[in-house]
């Protein structure tokens, strides 16, 4: 990523994505929307985990919260959907701020453990509060504006919003704030000693990551017209962590690639056998053994070796 060279392939991908729905069956259009939504979610996790070095173990909570906030506002409280789509991510960011303030005092794994417990609490509330959240049934048939109501409409909405969100995350990670965040990841004590307020920067990063997870949650509402408590369950958080690891968690587009691999695997292998996680397990072991920096991490490594060989020439 970065530099002028990467603009051309990105443009080609963008053009391809614009025309795809015209040549694909509806199911595939839906599937691509889903991949991009999950990819955005996994990228937002990687924002905190890969770039910030924060053990964000229960990132799914913010995704579910964004989705539920929008869904409840539309289906139960009767707000304008567009307004709900804006509020959803903000609610997710607010929750991220509150949970962040509580957890940030703890370091590394302890941060992650406390976050899992607090996140499970949020899940339990959503799961039990039948009157408001629909309990374990979730909320279905959420009406979205007709413009984005069709599969194609939802697809384009997802592409535009996810594209914008990815663009913003990319810019943030390459800004002074992003550099500082990566400095903190590499060496928190050193960062302090050069005058960086480590906790405040990490907290800001968490709020941003929570916001973008909330955006992904809203996209899911648009794509699927439903929400359910599993969106906040810890297994989903595990799944998006695997996506990031698989794709390459020190690369920007790695999580998106990981999302594509896992969603496709789940969709197609599970038509053959119900033990699709078996295939996932094998794949994951291979990645850990042979590609510890993920698929995209490996690609970059090979590419770098090639170009430096050329220079040495």
């Amino acid at each position: 990523m970065g530099g002028k060279k990467s603009i051309i392939p990105l443009l080609l991908v963008a053009i391809l994505l614009v025309f795809l729905p015209f040549s694909l069956p509806r199911f595939y259009t839906y599937l691509i929307s889903l991949i991009v939504t999950m990819g955005l979610l996994s990228t937002s996790l990687n924002f905190a985990l890969g770039y910030g070095g924060i053990y964000q173990l229960h990132h799914g909570v913010f995704y579910g919260t964004g989705a539920y906030a929008a869904a409840v506002m539309i289906a139960k409280l009767g707000y304008n959907p567009w307004f709900a789509f804006i509020i959803g991510p903000l609610v997710a960011a607010a929750l991220s701020l509150v949970m962040g303030i509580i957890c940030i005092r703890l370091s590394k794994l302890y941060f992650g453990m406390l976050q899992i417990s607090l996140g499970s609490l949020v899940w339990a509330i959503v799961y039990r509060w039948y009157g408001f959240t629909g309990g374990d049934d979730g909320i279905h048939g959420i009406s979205v504006p007709s413009m984005i109501g069709s599969t194609k409409g939802a697809y384009y909405f997802t592409m535009i919003v996810a594209g914008l969100a990815m663009f913003f995350m990319y810019r943030i990670l390459h800004s002074p704030f992003g550099s500082t965040l990566q400095g903190i990841r590499d060496n928190a004590v050193r960062s302090q000693a050069i005058g960086v307020n480590v906790r405040r920067h990490q907290l800001t990063a968490l709020v941003m990551a929570g916001f973008f997870a909330g955006v992904a949650g809203v996209l899911f509402v648009v794509v699927d017209n439903s929400v359910f408590p599993n969106m906040l369950f810890w297994t989903l958080s595990l799944e998006i962590t695997i996506m990031a690891l698989l794709g390459g968690w020190f690369t920007f587009l790695g999580p998106m690639l990981g999302a594509a691999i896992i969603v496709l695997l789940r969709t197609f292998v599970s038509t053959v056998t119900e033990y699709w996680t078996f295939a996932l397990g094998i794949l994951l072991m291979l990645v850990i053994l042979f590609l510890p920096e993920g698929v995209l991490g490996k690609v970059f490594e090979i590419w770098k070796r090639r170009t430096s060989a050329e220079i040495r020439g």
Binding site: I172, S175, T180, N187, V189, A193, F250
Partner: protein, 247 residues
Amino acid sequence: MLEVKGLSKSFGGFLAVNKATLEVRKGEIVAVIGPNGAGKTTLFNLVTGILKPDEGQVLFKGEEITGLPAYKTCKKGITRSFQVVNIFSRLTVFENVRISVLSQQGKTYHWFKPSREFVNEETSEILKSVGLINRKYNVCGALSHGDQKVLEIAIALAGKPELLILDEPTAGMSPEETARCIDLIKQLSQSLGLTILFCEHDMELVFAIAQEIMVMVRGSTIAQGPPDEVRRNQQVQDAYLGGDEGC
């Protein structure tokens, strides 16, 4: 400029620093010496706010800074290098120093414009002054140990300190690297007028450049004064220097 009074810190019953005192005057190069485990690094950690003292006072330019967190003492004008090389290993030499400059200028919350458009001149300037400009695109994990230690100093310098604290700046360096480092420290003191506080095992280095020496044994200050005076001090000789060795 810096005054340490009766500073103590214990770790689970072990008294690492015991009522230490230290005075650093503006423009001086001051060395802290002492046997291994005397508490030199702990003292520096207490002064810079990496650790919180149990008791005692730290005054900087007459202002009490006891127990301030590290990022605040940095803003007050004290920056430091670390004994164990402590840099951002995935980033390049240039990026390492840039983060420190960004922090010094309070620009770490800029979130949209790319980092590469910020503080390039200031960063180059600092790298030139320590002689690392030719290595600016190297990932710093790949630098030699000596260069990493110099980069440590560069990162500390980028914070525009009034007081620069160096924790064993030449530890693990080859003789040539050590000579280069001594020149660098002298030059920083002379050309920038920096006040420098450092600790060191290398006696040659200490007596070559320090204008004032503080001797620490088992966490306590046993003497502070000009090199000649410290060398003659009976208590110091008994505890540390051992006769005429090391001068």
